[in-house]
């Protein structure tokens, strides 16, 4: 029963993939750096709706989470969520032809799930296995012959926010292959998925508070600024495939200076 559901899900994914594949790279951008946005009117509508929900629900929640939860708890939560995401990352690294890193991710998962007490502590990092994160949108970007700035038509998804054809398909595929989702469904503990989703949202939003507030305050057209920033950020993530994390970048320390940023 579950297998059939999975197979039909996979078939659906392949079908959507084919459509997305034909969309990615099938566009001509008018001006360098401008994002292809044929659905701008409905996108702006969805953006406004998401913005309202964010202002009244998600943002206050994220601020509370950031300011009132002990830093150790926040780090532990982030580690647990990252750990639950490792199988999907391993899958995508394999799909991108990064066999070694995929194996390292599996090793991280096994180490952190056991010695790291269900992923609360990232002990694998100390063993020379730094965290990585790859999603299927990035995998499609690696596969595509188009430049990573071109992810097909820009989309604003309900709740999930900025996306494009490539990354929306990516979200769906990551959802389908996620072993924890499959297991939760199998053992009838679906509610755990909602708990995880809620925590993901609070954690992710709490870490983008400063950046998003800054963009909103300093832009004259918030929608366009976000559209551009999202597209560039995703393109950079796809380009730096193979670079583990920012902390792993080769740095010949020419000089060190402290710099303060508004929190």
């Amino acid at each position: 029963m579950m297998l059939r559901g999975w197979v039909s899900g996979a078939c659906r994914a392949v079908a959507v993939l084919a459509v997305a594949g034909s969309l990615v790279g099938g566009c001509a951008t008018a001006e360098e750096g401008e994002v292809w946005d044929p659905l701008e009117t409905p996108n702006r509508f969805m953006f406004a709706l998401n913005k309202t929900l964010d202002t009244f629900i998600l943002r206050p929640l994220a601020v509370t989470y950031r300011d009132l939860t002990p830093p150790g708890v926040q780090r532990g939560t982030r580690n647990v969520l990252n750990n639950l995401g490792e199988p999907v990352t391993a899958f995508n690294e394999l799909a991108q032809g990064e066999g070694t890193r995929s194996v390292q991710t599996v090793a991280r998962f096994l180490i952190n799930s056991t010695i790291g007490v269900l992923g609360i502590f990232d002990v694998a990092k100390g063993f020379g296995l730094p965290p990585t994160k790859e999603d299927f949108g990035q995998t499609l970007g690696v596969w595509a012959k188009a430049p990573p700035e071109d992810g097909g038509p820009y989309l604003v998804l309900p709740l999930a926010g900025p996306s494009n054809a490539r990354d929306a398909v990516g979200l769906l595929v990551d959802y389908l292959v996620d072993p924890f989702r499959i297991a939760a469904k199998h053992f009838d503990v679906d509610y755990l998925l909602y708990v995880r989703g809620g925590l993901e949202a609070a954690d992710a939003r709490s870490r983008t508070l400063q950046a998003l507030d800054d963009i909103e305050k300093n832009s004259v057209d918030f929608y366009s600024a976000i559209r551009s920033a999202y597209t560039q950020h995703r393109a950079a993530q796809i380009r730096q495939r193979g670079v583990v994390t920012s902390a792993m970048l080769p740095l010949d320390v020419a000089g060190r200076a402290e710099l303060g940023l508004a929190r």
Partner: protein, 196 residues
Amino acid sequence: MSIPTLSRRLVLGAACSLIAGAGVVMPAAADDAAALINTIANRLLTMLKSGVSDADREREMSAILRQSFDLQAIGRTVLGRHWNGATPEQRQRFLTAFERAEVRAYSGRFREYSGQSLVVGKVTQQAPKELVSSQIVQPNGGPAIRLTWEVVNGKIVDVTIEGVSMAITRRSDFNSYIQRNGLDALITELERRASS
């Protein structure tokens, strides 16, 4: 007695001009670009640690921006194709308003200091640009933020944060606003924000 002093001074002067001359001749452009970023970071840090008032911070920010950033070039870039269609008067008004808006934006970003540090890394030559890579390291061990500074002729023309170019984002932002409301409306809006 006065003669040796004079000669000593002459020797000293000659040595100084030699050193200064060597500084100009040496192809140390990459070091200069990295040094530029380090200087800015140090100036910011000194300011932040001294806990200055909002007005003083804005003045210092304004000085740093005008000295180290090529605001004219950035202004032209962010206006994109609308630059060519603008009258000289519109361009002048735009650049003035844009500068003031950027000063506002930057000084707002450095309101609180919570112990981050900037580590300046490699300089990549990409003529005529030099790309200075750096990282903001968080004091709580959180993920570092990658910053790339684009330097042309000893001045910063763009900052890229985690792959997001400030110039490209701003151009996209302005372009949409101009398409909907026109260039004059954008200039008026920037002027309004700068003086609010």
